[in-house]
Every structure is written in structure tokens, then in C-alpha cells.
Chain length 356, copies 2
Amino acid sequence: MSGAAEPLVSNAKLLAFGEAVLTKVGFSPDDAALASRILLDADLRGVASHGMAHLVDFYVRRTQAGKVNPHPNMQLTSDQQAAATLDADNALGFVAGHHAMGIAIEKARATGVSWVSVGNSTHYGAGAYYAMMALEHDMIGFSMTTGGRLVAPPGGLGRAIGLNVLSVAAPTSREWPYVLDMATSVVAAGKLEIARRKGESIPEGWAQTATGEPLTDPTQLHPDGTMLPLGGTPVHGAFKGFGLTIMVDILTGALSGFGTSAEIDAGLTAAHCFGALRIDAFQPLGDYRERMERMIAAIKETPRKESVDEIMIPGELEHALAAERRADGRVPVHAVVLAGFHDAAEELGVTYDLED
Amino acid sequence: MSGAAEPLVSNAKLLAFGEAVLTKVGFSPDDAALASRILLDADLRGVASHGMAHLVDFYVRRTQAGKVNPHPNMQLTSDQQAAATLDADNALGFVAGHHAMGIAIEKARATGVSWVSVGNSTHYGAGAYYAMMALEHDMIGFSMTTGGRLVAPPGGLGRAIGLNVLSVAAPTSREWPYVLDMATSVVAAGKLEIARRKGESIPEGWAQTATGEPLTDPTQLHPDGTMLPLGGTPVHGAFKGFGLTIMVDILTGALSGFGTSAEIDAGLTAAHCFGALRIDAFQPLGDYRERMERMIAAIKETPRKESVDEIMIPGELEHALAAERRADGRVPVHAVVLAGFHDAAEELGVTYDLED
């Protein structure tokens, strides 16, 4: 193993390793390949917190523990022209999400707009992947999911609601799409994980202690600290972040009927929803792109702070990074993660061939 | 006039006054009544910044200036099963919004889900009204609009994007609905108006000067200060607020084809969108309500700060206030606003009968 903390690992080898490991714990080759592709996609886009790093500790371990069903019998409990609900039968979230977004896209092709709510699912990785499935169909895509119950409502001190996520993707006039992929908290939990790993403190305003004091030592989050909704404090908009968190819960766990982040098994089971809007059901695609270009150009021409080279639209940086990493054929993977892969390979009887 | 800064004025008289004034400047009695009802609804819910206070300075003056068309020829430029686009022909935003949300509800009744994008419109008041139209149909409602161009993107110093607004309403298990009605900036511009009127300073983090310094004197916003996107600073999530602002622009001005907040006449013309999800297209309504109750109960049972009596769900306080003000038959209206009404009544030849 290289001495660097984050050696570069071949994308192809990571995909093959993910497939081998997931097949070994019971998934079909197709599902194992799909999950690996979605995980690698997050690494390519620089979202390492939702990428291959969790292959073993989330997906393999939860499947071994019987929390994820490798052979789900997914069923539509409602199927209307533009709406559907999927009972995912505890499928791997990647499998449920990919299937449900596919249904949303087909429905939007017919009616112009669609929404699919999903319950009885599990962690689906980075939400952007599903929203972005709409792009090649010239649609705007939505994807939302419940997250682990770690967030206190404004004025609260307990873990009442999830680190819920809202993702939106839309074609633009440029080579990159607009992609918003945000936890409805000030920051995602991954930011605390990273600070912990580095031994760094975190800024005030991300989290609070059990008594409501600012929490700046990320090792203090567990067992009873809480993350704060976007906005942080009421005076800076915490009721907005709280309202968005609930919006996601309503559209996922309440609308599907399988339970919101306030009641489901925190971080293990999940509810999602997916939406698609076919742009040419509203207006010709060329006109849409023209309006997008005018917006993007106006934003980029805005006067900037001296320290800022260019104002970036959400999704722009991630697209550039993914293109670079695809061309290079490699993504960085933390040494600790690789060590875990090494051990898992031995345990599962899978070839470990990730290092040069 | 009472000596109080905010005398209480009869709801019925305010409605009649609004109707008389708007009819006088050219609106049909039906449109004038609709607009007055929507304005009063904001006052009832405690959103005075979007209520009757703007009757004259926004709606009457803009109509007199030819910016609002009292006899619009509103046309659907696209009409698909679950999707439509409305060219509002510079209608009063209330008229365009009410019409478009009605279409969204009818479409969702048939297909389960719908989305209607609107351009060539004007200021539509508080977005919650339209989202809440879905409630009596047991639907979840969405309403979004472009706002005045006053927001700088993260790293930017110029007014690139609008004070865009996202509103969502959903039935709950309680007597009040969930209602989120938020500018995608840290605060709405109304908060600065109020501070200016009171001669108070504003907290750091709401706005910045033309050079990017914290702006705490609200009189300094014009001509070249900027409001900040929700999150405020990049470290506290400003890219999320920025991303939400763009999401609203995409779904309103780009999707309708009539232009986003980055290019349309700041604050005068507007683009909106409206969505409806019929809950029983996803699952039986009773099951939905049960999941909502579990979520609400869990949130309300969360340990609280000592200073907090109860954790309120978005929409709960506004519902209670509206019930109180309906029962009382009166809402507070600032004395300055009443003085303006008095002058406008004289100018337009309308009876002024708002004070006891």
C-alpha cells in the first residue's frame, strides 16, 4: 500500500471489487454491478462520504445482519398515471432507487410529470445519481430520502428528525448539468466524520451538545449531540431548514406510508421519493436552454470577491472533477478504507487487487 | 385614527376597500375580490409584509403604470396530461396564480400529480395561499415564484438572483396543515423593511455591502447592498440556499420559457410554478395521516431548551393566529399604511371607511 493517506485506485478495479463483494453476500450480479456503479459515481464526483468508502461497513455489514434483503420482492402498492408507490421490501437502496426513478421517467414520458414514493428501503448512497438519471431524457429529476435521525428541530435538544436529503438535477446550456444534492441540515454528517478522522474541530453552528451549547469537537456528537437544520439558528433561518427536513419526510415516509425519519429505524431503513418533469411538456427544449444560458451567464458575470475566481453553479465543479477522474481512470480512496477492503476480501474469499 | 402604530381594522372593511380600489383601477369585481382575499389571508396569518400593506404601493401603482394588465388574455402555451405552461399576459399575480393552481389541482385529480409553470406574470403576494389551495382536495401543494433581484451568489457581490420563494402545504393529522413558505435567502426583504421602519439594526449574516462586508444597518441595503442566500456563508451552507434559489428559477422562469429572476424586470414581472400531489394516488389518506401524526408527536416530544414551551411545526402558529383574527374580525394594519389608503381613496374617489 502506498504511504499516502488517499492512494489512487483504478475505477475498473473498484467496480470489479464492489461487484465481487456484493455478489458474495448474496446480490445478483446485476444488482451488485448497479450498486458498485452508483458508489463509484459518488467518488468520481468528489462525494467520497457517499462512495466506495461505505461498501463494506454499510452495505456488506447490513446485508450480513439481515437488514438489507438481497432478493427483494419489490411491489407497487399504488400505480396511477403519474404517481406510484413502491414497497421496496428492504431492498438495497441503490436497487430500489434505480427502479423507482426508472418508473418516474417512464411516467413523465407519457404525462409530462411524475412522482414515485418509496418505503421499506435502505440507504441509497448519494441522491444526485437518481435525480441525474432524468438528464439524458431531457427531464428535470428529483430525488429525496430520509436520513439518520440526528437533527434537532429549532428549540429542541433531541434527535427528532433525520439528516434528510434533497437532490435536483436539470439540464443546462453548458456541458455540465445543474445538480443540487443537499442535506437539509447545515452540513451532512460526513463533514463531522472527516473532521474526526483528521482530529480537527468544527465551526460553531453545525451541531449542538445535549444541553444546546455549540458543539465544536466532532468526537462529542455521540451519544447525545445533535446536528442543526440548515439556517442553524432561528434568526438565520433554522425554521426553513426544519421545514425542508419535514417536506422531505412528508414526500417520502408519509406519502409512501412506510414511515418518516422520526419513526423508522434511524439510518438503517429509509424512505425515498423520485420525480421527473419532461421539459418539452412545458416548452421547446431549445427555449429552455436559452433561458438557462441567460441565467448562468448573468450569475457568472456578477461582480465577485477578490478571492473568488469564478462563481460556480451547483453541479459544475462535480462534473469537472468526474471528467478528470474518468480520464485518469482512478479515484482516491482513504488508506483506512482500503485496509478494510483487504480484510473483507479475506473474510469473504474475494480477490483483493486494488493496489499497484 | 387610533394613536397605536398598528390599529386593528375590520377584515370585512379591508376586503371591501381592496375590492373598491382594485375595481377602480380597472380590474373585474371577481379579480378585485380574489386579490383582496389573498392579501387579507396573509394579514390573517401574520405575514403583514405580503398583505394589505402593499395594496396601493405595489398593485395599484403598478397597474396605473401599465406594468400589470387588468384584462389579461391568459393562454396555455402547453397543455399535457400532467403538465402545463401558462402565459399570464402580465396578469395580476393573484389572478394568474389562482388560475394556474386550479389547473394543477384538476390535473392531479386525474393523473395523481401535476406541475404548471407560469411566466409573464407579476407579484403574487404570499406563496402559501396557492400551495394551501391543494389542502381541501387532500393534496400536497407546491408554489414557487421568482422574487426581486437582490441576492448575491456565494462569493459574489452583485445582485444576480432573486429573492425566490418556495411554498409547500400538506395536510396533517391535526387541525392545522403543514405550511412552509420561505424565501431561499436567509431572510425575506420584508424583515429589512420592518427593521428600517423601526430604526433597528439587523443581525450580521442577512446581507452584505457592495464590498462584501456585513451589512447591519438596513438603510444601507440600497442602492448596492445584497441579500445572502440561506446558509449565509459557504461554511454554513450558502451553496444550499444558492442551489435552492436556482431550483426555483429553473422550475419557474426557465421551465415556463419566460425568463428567470436573473433576467426579468426585477420585482415587477414574475414567473411562478405550481404543483399538486393527490395523496390517495400514493396510499389511503388515513394511513398518510397516521404517519404524519407519528412524526408530529415525535417532534413535539423531543427534549427542549428551557426557554421553549413547545416545538411548533411550520404552519402551526400561522393557523392559530388566523383563527384568532378571524374570530376577532380584525387584523392590525400599520398607521402609515392606513394613511396611504386614505390618500389613495381620495385620489381614486373611493370611500375610506377603515377606522372606527
